[in-house]
């Protein structure tokens, strides 16, 4: 019997992951049994991600669910000795990110479950969506570089196929091919980086690396440099960003929502895991690790590199977003520039900065997922992809117009939206840190101001411009469907995002409290 107890204690904390796996297998099994209904597959995906989200929130001790916690309280944020070198460890920041990943998957599943019922490939879509989410969850608990690379690879391989799941659409397959080529390049770079760090420190474990002696300088420099490049592709930092726009543009809309809102964040969490350690080592020196570790030689250099990448990414992303005529490409570039803001938190690497970046990631997860779901809904109504095609849309489709306006205002960081709270926490943390970090905050504020222009332009086009009389009329509304022919799932997902944007903008405390305590712990005990 004690064997079962030990097994349960080992497996129990991974119940959300196991649920995702079971959901994916069930969806594939139903497809083999020729039960092909989009609603059913969607319902499975929604149920599995919703229950998973609930369990992760319970593990985080969020008030109404805390009784359901699966991970014993002592195992979260426990201090890990470098010599124990665990493959995975539960940090509250990792759990916060798991909640973000599940939220994104939940919104996308909700948004996709009301597509045409006879559509082929829905099992592939929902199955791969769940498998990708499983990989993302594993990234959230990784504390070993090899574990991290493998988990990222689970996500990558699922998403390559997810982009091409329609199979007959040339644009999607081309987007998948581009995505694959860049993803393969990124894998080669990060794997080689891990191999060199293995040579420098004799281990791939993040705790062990940070507790070890100073490694061979060349190997450490090359290793961390290659890891920055490899992971920067995932985060779409400039100059590693060019693929993202084509892929988000060519992929089916729901998949773009998941890529921009969900999977991109695994790269950011990998940045947290891998690079904050050396920066902290450099700051605290001997009091943290008397042997020196990788921080002494690499920490300050890494900080400057990330600061430059942050400023370049937000500026270039914004400048290119200003010129876009298509709504999806505009959102793609805006998503690139947002990654620059998040990088500020990793560069500064104090507890408030980590909290600010995490909050910014939360805002971006819901806003970008929601925005791409609106694009999917509008496309389903037969409206074109150019911004000009959206003229007068807000008046003809007030539900979509108002919801999309909330999301754009949130992305721009207008007060009373969650985007304002996150940017406020993030930029003020950079100012508190002083030194050249103040310039990061200034660059961030200037860029936010510039970004208002292209977000507001879409709102103006939707509400103030008269519709183009020569444009073909949008498809007549299907009778019997709620919310202007959107289908229930999509309408609920879009409405949920719009409500969350305002709700957390007015009262951010529920998220802010959890994120701040997680960031505090992460800076103290994280890998």
């Amino acid at each position: 019997m004690s064997d079962w107890g030990a097994f349960g204690a080992f497996v129990g904390p991974f119940l959300p992951e196991l649920l995702l796996l079971a959901g994916a297998l069930l969806v594939f099994l139903l497809d083999v049994l020729e039960v092909r209904r989009v609603e059913l597959n969607g319902a499975i995906a929604v149920a599995v991600t919703a229950v998973g989200l609930l369990l992760v929130l319970a593990d985080l001790g969020v008030a109404p669910f805390a009784g359901l916690a699966l991970i014993p309280a002592g195992q979260i944020d426990s201090i890990v000795t470098p010599s124990s070198a665990p493959l995975y460890s539960f940090t509250s920041l990792g759990l916060v990110f798991q909640a973000f990943f599940l939220l994104s998957a939940l919104l996308v599943s909700l948004g996709s479950m009301s597509r045409p019922s006879k559509e082929r490939g829905s099992a592939v879509f929902f199955g791969l969506l769940l498998l990708a989410t499983l990989g993302m969850m594993l990234v959230g608990v990784a504390s070993d570089l090899l574990f991290l690379v493998l988990a990222i690879e689970v996500v990558s391989i699922s998403t390559y196929l997810l982009v091409a799941y329609t199979r007959r659409d040339a644009r999607s397959v081309e987007a998948a091919m581009k995505f694959y080529i860049i993803g393969a390049l990124s894998t080669v770079l990060s794997l080689f980086g891990v191999a060199l760090l293995f040579g420098a420190f004799g281990t791939t474990n993040l705790y062990a690396i940070e507790g070890s002696a100073v490694g061979t300088p060349t190997l450490v420099l090359l290793g961390y440099g290659l890891l920055v490049a490899g992971l920067a592709f995932k985060v779409t930092l400039v100059p590693f960003h060019a693929w993202a726009v084509d892929v988000y543009d060519g992929a089916p809309h729901d998949v773009s929502a998941f890529l921009a809102g969900g999977t991109k964040k695994i790269g950011l969490f990998a940045f947290f895991l891998v690079f904050i350690g050396p920066i902290l080592l450099a700051r605290w020196g001997a009091s943290f690790n008397p042997l020196g570790g990788p921080g002494v030689e690499i920490g300050p250099l890494l900080q400057v590199l990330l600061a430059v990448l942050a400023v370049v990414t937000m500026t270039v992303g914004n400048l290119l977003a200003l010129q876009q005529k298509e709504i999806k490409r505009m959102l793609a570039y805006s998503s690139i520039s947002q990654a620059g803001y998040m990088l500020i938190g990793i560069t500064v690497a104090t507890a408030p900065a980590v909290a600010g970046a995490t909050l910014q990631i939360f805002a971006h997860v819901i806003l970008t997922t929601g925005a791409f779901l609106v694009v999917a809904a509008v496309a389903a109504l037969g409206v074109g992809a150019r911004i000009d095609d959206w003229r007068g849309l807000g008046l003809r489709r007030p539900y979509l117009g108002v919801a999309f306006s909330f999301m754009l205002l949130g992305l721009a960081g207008i007060p009373l939206t969650v985007g304002f709270v996150s940017k406020f926490v993030l930029f003020s943390s950079a100012i508190q840190a002083e030194g050249y970090f103040v310039w990061l905050a200034i660059a961030g504020v200037l860029n936010s101001a510039a970004s208002v222009f292209y977000y507001a332009r879409v709102i103006k086009v939707m509400f103030l411009d008269a519709p183009d009389p020569s444009a073909p009329p949008s498809r007549p509304e299907a009778p019997g469907l709620a919310f202007e022919g959107l289908g229930y799932g999509r309408a609920v997902a879009i409405g949920l995002v719009a409500v969350l944007v305002i709700f957390f903008g007015i009262d951010p405390q529920p998220v802010l409290g959890v994120v701040q305590s997680a960031a505090q712990h992460f800076v103290l005990v994280g890998p």
């Binding site: 470098p82 010599s83 070198a85 090899l146 493998l150 690879e153 391989i157 390559y160 196929l161 091409a164 199979r167 007959r168 040339a170 644009r171 397959v173 081309e174 987007a175 998948a176 091919m177 581009k178 694959y180 080529i181 393969a184 390049l185 894998t187 080669v188 770079l189 794997l191 080689f192 891990v194 191999a195 060199l196 293995f198 040579g199 420098a200 420190f201 004799g202 281990t203 791939t204 474990n205 062990a208 070890s212 490694g215 061979t216 060349t218 190997l219 090359l222 084509d246 543009d249 060519g250 490409r329």
Partner: protein
Amino acid sequence: MTTLPVGDLVALASGLVAISIFGILTRRNFILLLIALEIGMNAAILTFVYFAAFPQCVTAATCHPLTGQAIAVVVIGLAATEVAVGLAIVLALHRIRGTTNVAEATTLQL
């Protein structure tokens, strides 16, 4: 027994990765591109195996002498999976376009 100096191994592996990156970025034929990807993966595998016998690993408490080899086996599996998915995508592309040439797939460049 003579051993390969670290510098030489790093130079060799870096050269292989450079060839791989060059191949991935410039090859027009998708199959050749996959081969370039394999070269890069193998450079990483080579590095893992080499460093398994390296003093850092042999003396570290957390490292077993076989760790490097074990990682290499895992990475070989990873590389195989990656190539399988690449072939699936290229098959789908071939059905639509009748070509495996990357340069001809340019609908997205606006």
